[in-house]
Amino acid sequence: MAEIHLTGRAASPGLAIGPVTVLTNVVARRTAVGDPAQEAAALRAAIEAATDEIAGLIRTVQGEAAEILEFQVAMLGDDALAEGAYDAISVGVAADHAWRSALDAEIAGYRAADDEYFRGRAADLVDIRDRVLAHLGGADAVATIAAGSIVAGDDISPSVFLAADWTGGGAIALAAGSPSSHVAMLARARGAPMVVGLGPLDWNERPPALALVDGDTGTVIFDPAPETLHVFEQRIAAANVARAAAEAGRFDPALTADGRRIRVLINVAAPEDLAGLDPKICDGIGLVRTEFLFEASHGLPDEETQYAAYRRILEWAGQKPVTIRTLDAGGDKPILGLTVDGESNPFLGLRGIRLSLGQPDVFRVQLRALLRAAVHGSLKVMLPMVAIPAEFDRAAAMLDAEFAALTAQGVASARPPLGIMVEVPAAALRAEDFDAAFYSIGSNDLTQYTMAAARDIGAVADLNDTGNPAVLELIARTVESANKRGVEVSLCGDAAAETRLIKPLLATGLRTLSVAPVAVARLKAAIATVRE
């Protein structure tokens, strides 16, 4: 049997070897029966089944995990949770849609909480939501996972993850999934390697027996040849030694082998990413994605919700700089009621700043929230997908206008520096034409637009290489423009978390890199090996 190499995205670091457990698709498509009484009965049955399932799970776990599940049972047993769903069903909405909407509204409430602890409970509500949805879809009960196995499937829910024993090794390999999912957070916390976005796992009904998961580079090898397995085992031994050394240095400033100071920032996809994280590991936050605020299906977040979220992140960072990116919807990040459906090529369509300028009422709310949050720390605001200076100028004018309006109303606010994300080759080539206060190179999109190859299309994934000289030249050109104009430049993107790319990236003159928190220790260790 030939070994199968798949490349996805690293979601939790580490290496693992183990037998494969295949998860079947948990959430199946469901056909509504249409009759409100039957739909209500279906929802009631699904809630009961989910409750029974969790109750069974509680008997197998202890401590904190059991308490989380007991809380879920209490919530599911409370009619108040499904009240909104039953109301919707009574006017003809299908049970699964009604339940999803009701829970999404509840989840949005938790995500908007001031208190970190309450925000963290959003994951439990997501779990409750999905477990009931699985039962509504007529899916089988959640699969059990043997300790030490490599779990392969489309996606995995927190309760499935929690149901497994990760103390004896094991890892996760997903066709879909996200590095910023709660399962990814749980996996990082438990030290279980995880790779997401592998693309369809199609084994022609002959699932693999053994898998090697590399949560550092985001690769998975199914059914490895003996020699591959042997090399991997040696890497595990070496990695154990290296990880111990890297972890020891994660609070130290990053220095190259010849003593040059490199600023290491972190990327934040949601406030939960900062939970339990010590600001001392980084020099600031290089990228805050704001899409998490727009995920809930019930309308767009209001100014207060956004302000509270931004303020919390700034307060976490103290005096360290925080760069928040305005909404980058569109492309692979559709948002209900905002992005355009059915574009023939969403990556070349109405996304990022193009969408924000086309929806000025939505954009103004975000700008006001940012202006108000700016008094709570060292905020910078970044515009995504900018291609021409006129886009920057229009956004800057809107920011100035909102600042003037807030000031006139006596509302505490400050005008943050406004910069651009350099991810369209046109902007990289002509960076000096922009009046931007800083440049932040988005290496993921810059690479795919330069190479005309998406990284999630396996057949062309090898072309999607930030180390390609064409991409590096655009990065170097942007750095040069920044130096000429005397403004800051940084790079945020997965390239900065790839050890092999650190030397060529620093060779472009970059001195600031931004990576996911989980990659900080590794990045600092990689920087320390570079001699320029």
Partner: protein, 104 residues
């Protein structure tokens, strides 16, 4: 840590009120909410809680609604209890809060 000056307005079914300060580390979070609602459900009396003496009042028997209050550490929890076993219910609620739900 509390001002358990429970007062009875009239002799009949007028509500009893009292308040106590949340002393446990993370406020009225998942585990305390479950404990509180489980305890509340043992009584026939209607039990409500609020962050202010004049409400808005939340059903203390609903974990979903109690969690929506998102009461942080240091908040004063006001209780309003109506029913035959109201006094015992109120005492149980105050004991739980003052005890930090056993985790202070």
């Amino acid at each position: 840590m509390h001002d358990a000056n429970a007062s009875r307005a009239t002799e009949t079914m007028a509500p009893l009120t009292a308040s106590a300060i949340l002393v446990n580390e993370v406020g009225l979070h998942a585990r305390p909410s479950v404990k509180l609602t489980q305890s509340a459900k043992r009584f026939a009396a209607a039990i409500e809680l609020a962050l202010a003496p004049d409400g808005p009042w939340t059903d203390a028997k609903s974990p979903v609604k109690v969690m929506r209050v998102k009461a942080p550490k240091g908040a004063t929890l006001h209780f309003r209890v109506t029913g035959a076993d109201g006094e015992a219910a109120l005492a149980a609620m105050l004991a739980l809060v003052n005890d930090g739900f056993g985790e202070a």
